[in-house]
């Protein structure tokens, strides 16, 4: 510890360089993680909010809930150990009827048709009852200027809805969700005042015992993986993050190794003087850890600051578990990098320090 810290202080310039590399990479990694998690969450927030175990849609829908049409008979045929709820799900484009230019106020959303007593209605709005043209909308729409009592127009129709409440963390495939009574949803979906009694899927809290042959049951997690682009996106981000951590381990490992090789004569003399391998190698490892520690602390602070300033513009979400895993990975890989140097230290022959 003594040697490691003294050297850091004495050769500040050299170490500042390597710390700045670690800062940049750790900043990038933490930031990407927050972004990836934020993006993934905005895909799945509404689904996660159901707190469901399984989802049932028709076989014909080919994984796409929007193409699933279920009847009341199908609903009855879903036998569960737990509770079940009907869901109507369809995308829509809304606009603000009070806007000067209605085209400028277009927002892509998902309409969720639900039953008032259903567990998939957001908890924070449980005191509200959806009737007629009343809707509960995701709080993201507050940014567009909507408030309670505002009217929402639906592009391509002359329907208008009235906002009676806001829900939190209810986005689906990055778009805000608008909750409405099932009958209202059916009116929109089939664009007629006398729609058929069809809906999209059954959300199950508990386990499905049996369904009819035309239906298919998904674990909630498996269902999320079928969302268009979700798996590809998560995979892309995680690959980038893993590779960045490995790269920083290499950069750090090489840097420390070069420094160690430069110090070979000094270490030789130290060994001749009876200073043990453990002490010398330990001080190399401690030095590596100190560099990583300083670097990732600064990188993390930068991430937090960025999150505060950019949180409204980009889907930035904090996940302490992911941060913890990444921090651990940084230290683990940095340790592997330092092992090269430890090996080099062990191989230094004190004999060369004397006479020669």
């Amino acid at each position: 510890m003594f040697l490691a810290i003294k050297e850091l202080k004495y050769t500040k310039g050299k170490f500042a360089l390597i710390i700045s590399v670690i800062v940049l990479v750790s900043y990038l990694v933490y930031f990407l993680t927050s972004l990836a998690y934020g993006l993934a969450s905005s895909y799945t927030n509404a689904v996660n909010k159901w707190d469901s175990d399984e989802i049932v849609i028709t076989v014909d829908a080919n994984d796409s809930i929007m193409m699933s049409f279920m009847t009341a008979a199908d609903f009855d045929a879903v036998e569960v150990d737990g509770t079940k709820a009907r869901l109507g799900l369809f995308p829509a484009v809304i606009n603000d009827p009070d806007a000067e230019n209605r085209l400028d106020s277009r927002v892509n959303v998902y309409f969720f048709g639900i039953d008032n007593d259903s567990f998939i209605k957001p908890k924070e709005t449980s005191h509200l009852t959806l009737e007629g043209n009343q809707v509960i909308v995701d709080e993201e729409l507050k940014k567009e200027g909507y408030e309670i009592g505002s009217m929402i127009g639906v592009s391509g129709t002359d329907m208008e809805f009235e906002i009676i409440g806001f829900s939190t963390k209810t986005t689906y495939q990055t778009a805000p969700v608008i909750f409405m009574a099932m009958s209202t949803w059916q009116t929109y979906r089939y664009n007629t005042q006398t729609p058929p009694d069809l809906f999209s899927g059954v959300i199950v809290r508990g386990l499905v015992d049996s369904v009819s042959d035309n239906l298919l049951t998904y674990k909630t997690g498996d269902y999320i993986a079928t969302l268009p682009g979700y798996t590809a996106q998560v995979l892309t981000f995680s690959t980038m993050i893993i590779f960045l951590i490995i790269i920083v381990a290499f950069v750090l490992g090489i840097f420390i190794y070069v420094l160690t090789i430069q110090k070979t004569p000094m270490f030789g003399v130290m060994k001749a003087q009876g200073i043990s391998n453990i002490y010398i190698a330990g001080s190399v490892v401690i030095q590596t850890f100190l560099l990583v520690l300083i670097g990732i602390i600064i990188g993390f602070i930068l991430t937090v600051v960025s999150g505060i300033f950019l949180g409204d513009i980009i889907p930035f979400a904090v996940n302490t578990l992911f941060y913890g895993v990444i921090t651990f990975a940084f230290f683990l890989f940095a340790f592997f990098g330092a092992l090269f140097s430890v090996r080099a230290v062990l191989k230094i022959d004190p004999l060369k320090a004397i006479g020669g």
Partner: protein, 231 residues
């Protein structure tokens, strides 16, 4: 006088290809407390082999080395390291100061490694004796050659070893500085009852030694110091 380091019938052979090279012929050697011993000899004569075996950095082919009457050459590398750390002080050519530690920190390093308390009184006494007290917060880079060697001597004496190995301690110094350094070394060897073994090319220094050995082709012989006055 008490023997501090002894070589009993030590020899060292190297295998070079199929040829056995005898770097050190069977040698007996003893350094007693208060003795400053000079070792001279041409390059390749076996000086380094002699010193490295004495310091436990190489195993002898035959014979044994005792430090303070205790077996040394038979120990494991780790045990030898520990004994070097506690019982031997090294003064090497300039490079034995660690570049990123101040003169004072060079001493404190010993305490950090052995997890002991720094002896500041003794340190200050040493610094004063070696007139490095004004330099104690400077880094080796900021010191002149002579100052650096004096600091190295302070470092070698600080942990109160029994034996001091000095390898060309005056290599980078002019005559005046070299004499200053060697006188100091001789004085401290006497005052603190150490045995100091100095390898050198510089024949001017030999008049300060109590005994001088010559190594030629692996054979160590005591030099007749008939021209030496009373030291």
């Amino acid at each position: 006088m008490k023997p501090l380091i002894e070589m009993i019938n030590v020899s060292k052979d190297f295998l070079q290809g199929d040829v056995v090279i005898s770097a050190l012929k069977p040698t007996n050697f003893t350094a007693h407390e208060g003795e400053l011993i000079g070792i001279i000899g041409p390059s390749g004569s076996g000086k380094s082999t002699f010193l490295t075996i004495l310091g436990g950095l190489q195993k002898p082919t035959t014979g044994r080395v005792l430090i303070n009457g205790n077996p040394f050459s038979e120990l494991t590398n780790d045990e030898k390291s520990k004994i070097r750390l506690d019982q031997i002080g090294f003064i090497l050519q300039a490079s034995n100061l660690i570049p990123f530690l101040t003169v004072k920190e060079q001493m404190v390093l010993y305490n950090k490694i052995t997890k002991t308390k720094a002896n500041h009184e003794w340190m200050d006494e040493l610094f004063e004796k070696l007139s490095v007290d004004k330099l104690k917060n400077k880094y080796p880079n900021a010191l002149s050659g002579g100052e650096r060697q004096r600091a190295a001597i302070a470092k070698a004496l600080y942990h109160q070893p029994n034996v001091i190995f000095a390898d060309e301690p005056t290599a980078s110094l002019d005559t005046k500085k070299a004499f200053e350094v060697i006188k100091l070394l001789a004085k401290e060897t006497k005052a603190q009852k150490k045995a100091t073994i100095m390898v050198t090319h510089d024949e001017r220094l030999l008049e300060f030694c109590d005994k001088v050995y010559v190594i030629v082709d692996g054979v160590l012989t005591l030099k007749n110091m008939s021209n030496k006055n009373q030291g």
